[in-house]
């Protein structure tokens, strides 16, 4: 009796799983998203609508714009189809793809092993990493980290990375980013460490931003790629060629400069080019 009670849910689950697998298998074998998109004449893309500068609603045009949107539009041009943006939040990116509500995800999508089990990724077209915000001239390269006092947020991976890679550095932890910034501006710490793209937004908001800089090196790496439904190998190969091409023609650099270039609101040195396997240490 006890045995049956504990076995039956398992039995149902496995029966369900095998039924699903049987139902999906022929579809997966014949599907070719690339042809489907061309035939439909519409490319449905999931993108952020509240994460500047990757994807956000522009205050004047009320349209979703950003670095990810520019990439999606470039792809639309290449395929000769219309691009339809579907707003998403981080948690919905995989469900939207696997339920076929969208064809691709362009949403600052970090490539991880766990995610790669459920969906496929293109090669990365953007990379970010843990970087530093410091007074100009204080920190020139990664060797300088061990000689200064670095502040960061409590309870983040930033602290762990610093401790593991630079055990001699004096790390001071603050409750949140504004307190860490206050410490930096008062000279309690010489550098504040966070994700590079977050630091640019912080730097842009500082009243005396001309005194500070984000030195062109990172101590950890995260790569963002295009999210593709699982098993679409032809589409992935197409995307990879297209991305490498964008780098060759200079379009990738143009898009980057529009959002992170020296003239942009949040300048961030470009450490990664499409096709690179690592962030560069300039």
């Amino acid at each position: 009796m006890k045995l049956r009670a504990s076995l039956s849910p398992l039995f149902f689950a496995s029966a369900l799983a095998s039924t699903l697998a049987l139902a999906l298998l022929p579809v997966a074998a014949h599907a070719d998203k690339l042809d489907d998109i061309k035939k439909a004449g519409v490319l449905r893309v999931a993108a952020f609508d509240g994460n500047p500068p990757f994807g956000y609603v522009d205050a004047s045009s009320k349209k979703i714009v950003g670095l990810d949107i520019d990439y999606a539009n470039e792809l639309g041009k290449k395929l000769g189809v219309k691009v339809e943006i579907v707003p998403t939040n981080p948690a919905n990116r995989i469900p939207l793809l696997s339920s076929n509500k969208v064809d691709l995800v362009f949403a600052n999508f970090t490539i991880t092993e766990d995610r790669a089990k459920v969906i496929d990724f293109s090669i990365p077209y953007f990379a970010s990493g843990q970087q530093f915000l410091a007074k100009k001239g204080v920190l020139k390269n990664a060797d300088g980290i061990k000689d200064i006092r670095v502040g960061t947020d409590k309870g983040t991976t930033m602290e762990t990375t610093l401790r593991e890679k630079y055990p001699d550095t004096k790390v001071v932890l603050y409750d949140d980013t504004p307190l860490g910034l206050a410490a930096l501006r008062n000279g309690n710490i010489q550098a504040f460490s966070q994700d590079g793209s977050k630091l640019t937004a912080i730097l842009a908001a500082l009243p005396d931003k001309e005194k500070y800089e984000i030195p062109a090196f990172a101590i950890s790496e995260e790569y963002e790629g295009v999210g593709v439904p699982k098993g679409e190998t032809r589409l992935v190969a197409f995307l990879n060629d297209w991305l490498r091409d964008l780098e060759k023609t200079g379009t990738a650099q143009q898009i980057y400069d529009k959002w992170f270039g020296p003239q942009s609101k949040s300048p961030l040195p470009r450490l990664f080019k499409i096709g690179d396997t690592r962030l560069r240490d300039k």
Binding site: K154, Y174, L179, A183
Partner: protein
Amino acid sequence: MLSHFDTSQLLAPKYLLWMWHGFQTTLLLSATTVVLATLLGFFLAAARSSAHPGLRLPAAAYTSLFRNTPLLVQLLFWYFGVPGLFPEGTMEWLNATHSVRLLGVVTLSWPSFEFLAAMIGVVLYSTAYVSEEIRAGMRGVPATQSLAGAAIGLTRLQVVHYIVLPQAVRIALPPLLGQYMNILKNTSLTMAIGLAELSYTSRQVEAETFRTFQAFGFATLLYIVAIALIESVGHWHLQARLAHDGKGRH
């Protein structure tokens, strides 16, 4: 039942060591504060009891200012607010390492700015409370005692030194020990300004190991041990006093 005890759920020695270092910082900050706040508290209590309004009024203002604002805000003020007023270069000097070799044996190193700001904040705050306990102790000594001292020709300072203070300290000691316990507990707020004391390190351990119960449980245990030590001083003093009084009656 005990055989089910999963030792893998315990904190690794490395993390216990982190928290032990944090505990040492907590004890150092508390001990320094107790000594400084008591010394300053005597002066403040004397100023508040002074007949001269030029001393009495500022002392009263100090007490209400520091007792009526939250300690956390005071700490943020000393750590984040004040350095903005320092001339350029001061913070660089304060944050650099300076050390002095004494007699070639002991090396005294300059504390971090986190420790300095924490010490200034907690000392100034605690002085207001400690001085009030001392003042209460002094008021507990009957005025006739001072008058009697004056009558036998002692100066005002001698009256305070030989007659009022010894009795005042006896009266004030139990509430003072309570204030010292408060000081120890209040040092936990300094984690907001980045001082790596016990609460700060327990949070650090929690963030790294995800062993929430163990990290905060161990910190609680260490705080209890420290508070129990202060309490035992009170008990020991009470016992000694009872024994002394008992002898006196024979």
